[in-house]
Symmetry: C2
Subunit: 285 residues, 2 copies
Amino acid sequence: MTDRRGIGIIGGVREMQEFSNGLRKEGKTIAFVPTMGALHEGHLSLMREGKRHGDVLVASVFVNPAQFGRNEDFNSYARDTDGDLRKMESAGVDIAFFPRADEIYPPGYETYVEVTELGKPLCGRFRPGHFRGVATVVLKLFNIVKPDTALFGQKDYQQLQIIRKMVSDLNLEVDIIGMPIVREESGLAMSSRNSYLSPEEREKAACLSLALRRIKKSFDEGERDSLALLREGYDVLAGASIGEVDYLEIRDGETLGDKAAASPGDVAALAVRIGNARLIDNTVL
Amino acid sequence: MTDRRGIGIIGGVREMQEFSNGLRKEGKTIAFVPTMGALHEGHLSLMREGKRHGDVLVASVFVNPAQFGRNEDFNSYARDTDGDLRKMESAGVDIAFFPRADEIYPPGYETYVEVTELGKPLCGRFRPGHFRGVATVVLKLFNIVKPDTALFGQKDYQQLQIIRKMVSDLNLEVDIIGMPIVREESGLAMSSRNSYLSPEEREKAACLSLALRRIKKSFDEGERDSLALLREGYDVLAGASIGEVDYLEIRDGETLGDKAAASPGDVAALAVRIGNARLIDNTVL
């Protein structure tokens, strides 16, 4: 482990496991925030909350190749190790874990975890293999870091539900905490991919949260018909000339099943493409 | 936990986890033998060896529905709880874990682990989904029992390699020990499925190990051509009028890849159908 001011840096899988084994032997609890780096306020809110849930707070930075499709942005995904370290330190992270891709996926790697049903709708339709890659790396990171608690953002709503389900199905003893979406002033949900947007596109992208707020307002006023709710959302997107909508749907908040009539706890979720960015957002009704 | 003479019996998943957490907190090590019951000398050899590898020896009995195909023998698979308990006790098992199927796979269960390449050849071709079911239940049992060491028989050679690979790929800290095949006097490998055989079929089934011994002898005498070696094995099977051979193959002992020329460490493996039984056996060259 390298110590850099107040933060310990671990790169090796075995070293991380031994460190965590040592903590557990001392009876200490571990809170964990897995990230792909390019940290923003959303990530930092997870870390600050994580601080309250464990004696030691571990955050990982790993841009996981297994969750990117062939034509997706793995190579262009933002990477900023120095900036990430400074931010982690300021958010109270004790251990920054930076595993290497060839240690996470050595030659001949071939074991994958799949949450079969929850991975099918929404982003699963547009990103085949994505959630298999997410579930696999999260399971591996859990086996390496051995957290008592792990924190994930609700912006990746489907991912959060898949991880919850995996943890329950595989009898993992990890408490999963989902944290509220952190937004810019315009309402745009914080995302590393916002950096792909030009200033004009960024302005346009504010309509994502606007569409979701419109749906939520209409739901709060009594509308329950999913199609009527979605039409209001589409009106907002069309008004901002968002042409490429992967989906805008209302689904059961837990099973992600179809809902013709919306009810409290359902989620309205969308994915759109603006310029080079594919952006997602959601709101719980 | 129910105590029955010298053996503790646990049925609940949470109870098992808490028991294992307690042991680990005390710094005790856990050895684990997962079985599907109908215990025979093969299983007992794993348990007796397991006794040497942990402070506490846990054995589970769970007939895993996820590893049986639709037309396979899940319903007729032998079950003998009382007999199994007696045998476990005599083999030195400290804790017998008998989970219920509806707790291992509650309604809505949907998370599966797959070792993609190792699961394809040999039995994988004839039992689609089988090794996915095996890998999934073994991972779950590991997460519940939390062993330091787990023991498996080499009779299920492909299963053993898949579990080794899963453990390595998923960063599980479990030592996997593969134990030699235990055979009846005739050479027939011990198997719960031998109980499906009539006395005549049982006699016939001795030719499986005979075919493998013939291959091994020829290999030891210098023959390296896989087809020539396999022909000798097929001669033995044909001589015993075994009509239904699922496969008889020579493969790399670790990757299970094809081998035109055999070399030390390769495995000769077969699966045949006799009466109502599908039997497997193998030998390492």
